[in-house]
Symmetry: C2
């Protein structure tokens, strides 16, 4: 895995790094196509905003951008992951001294294989809903998300909840799982945001108490609004899930991924996902 | 900082380590006196139990114990920190493959300076409560703890809540802060458990939804019970705090640390802490 640490080719960090000691940092996973990072400005903007919230000095923005571009260059399709930690501890204990110097880690990963989709989902047919049966199988995780407004929305390095959810996913027969907050609201999938469509329009869970404010989620919200599609951010319940005509997941790797089976129920619609995919240009390869 | 990684003297880990990527691991901070780790069996037992809950294979127990003893040897007083991560990622993404090989990191730290105590607190006087005014100044954090029974009690590497709480503590005039759960229950201090004493006896918050089940907390619970002191684990409210006659914090570094000022209120009693300190042999140096 090619990797730059503070601009230098390297593959290890100090054990004193607060990223390891406490998960004291943030990350971004950037989709790269034809040698170019996509939506890079949005990723950098979210990273900056996260650094501000955690009071981590934002590391050299120009170099960081250059490093991402460097690792993406020459590849047809890859993921570039950026990790920014508060840096090596200068004192013992949870509390930062304020004298730390952030660590920036930029690594390239091969584009992962997508979950297998039924053959009829490669293109939406024009002949009605039945032909649109497509998409991945999504269950409901028993692992819930703790609520903390001080951390909600951030793509930080404290990811044990997602680790446990995906650990349980293995051998479950599902491709992904939706996760609820400790209060029971539906928040997101283990590694994606979620959108629902019903007769009133398009909506996605609020991430003010937990969950990640995804870059693709933001693109969907902005694109839908610009296209005159009614879209809301609100509390989503299990009942909403059971009533939704269409459900899709979003992240920069999946783009917009229709859900074909939701907790045992078959969903036959993906029109909204296909339409927004086209508008955003987030078509899967 | 002297450090052994998987038994070898080293000071860096792979950037692919899931401890860094996701905080996917656990830690123990072990108090060492006269060259010997104290309560080591309890630390190893908690670590084993945490590994079981996260499904991380427990790393070579005999070597781990030997490594802790090796770093403690020859020091008058030190802290030895053990970190166990799930190891380097073998696949991309939150979900472990099950083929990872755990990383064990054992490092030694100098014994930290204790917060300054008023001069009259060095020994409990025999002349009544007024002479027992002592202890640290403790506030109430605005950072709350997200509730997750799947992670509660564990000393895992996802510690951003504690980082934020201690970040706010700096320049606050307090030595420590108590933290509430998202539901408002009082759970612990940012780096210690908490016990309260009132006319009904000794009690400490339940850590079934959040918080760490500390080794010193366990020792206090067991020692108090064995000594015939009534002790309960229960939900603790802000009202309980305001009514408590005596409050003390516990961890293996502090031992039992009386609270002298709690959120502005002066506490004049520390009898229970002194008595249990003596029984446990957890006197501060």
């Amino acid at each position: 895995m090619p990797c730059l640490i503070n601009g230098t080719v390297a593959d290890s960090i100090s054990v004193a790094d607060r990223g390891l000691q406490y998960g004291d940092g943030l990350f971004e996973t950037i989709s790269c196509l034809d040698g170019r990072p996509r939506w890079l400005a949005l990723h950098l903007q979210r990273l900056l905003s996260g650094c501000e919230r955690l009071q981590i000095p934002f590391p050299a923005a120009a170099q960081l951008e250059q490093e991402v571009r460097k690792l993406a260059a020459g590849t047809a399709r890859c993921l570039v992951k950026v990790i920014v930690t508060r840096g090596s501890a200068t004192v013992r204990g949870y509390g930062p001294s304020g004298a730390e110097s952030p660590t920036r880690i930029v690594s390239r990963y091969a584009w992962p294989a997508a979950p297998a989709e039924p053959a009829d989902s490669a293109e939406p047919a024009e002949t009605g809903d039945a032909a649109r049966v497509c998409g991945i199988r999504v269950g409901l995780s028993t692992i819930r998300l703790g609520e903390n407004p001080a951390l909600a929305g951030l793509k930080h390095l404290n990811r044990l909840e997602q680790v446990l959810a995906q650990q349980a996913l293995r051998n479950s027969g599902y491709d992904e799982v939706l996760m609820q907050s400790s209060s029971g609201a539906v928040i997101c999938a283990s590694s994606a945001n979620v959108f629902l469509v019903d007769q009133t329009g398009l909506y996605t869970p609020d991430v003010a108490l937990c969950g990640v404010a995804g870059v693709m989620r933001r693109l969907v919200l902005e694109t839908a609004a610009a296209a005159g599609i009614g879209v809301r951010v609100r509390t989503v319940t299990l009942h909403d899930l059971s009533q939704a005509q269409e459900v899709f997941l979003t992240n920069v790797r999946l783009g917009l991924q229709p859900v074909g089976w939701l907790h045992g129920r078959q969903l036959r619609a993906a029109q909204m996902a296909w339409r927004l995919r086209e508008l955003i240009g987030a078509t899967l390869p």
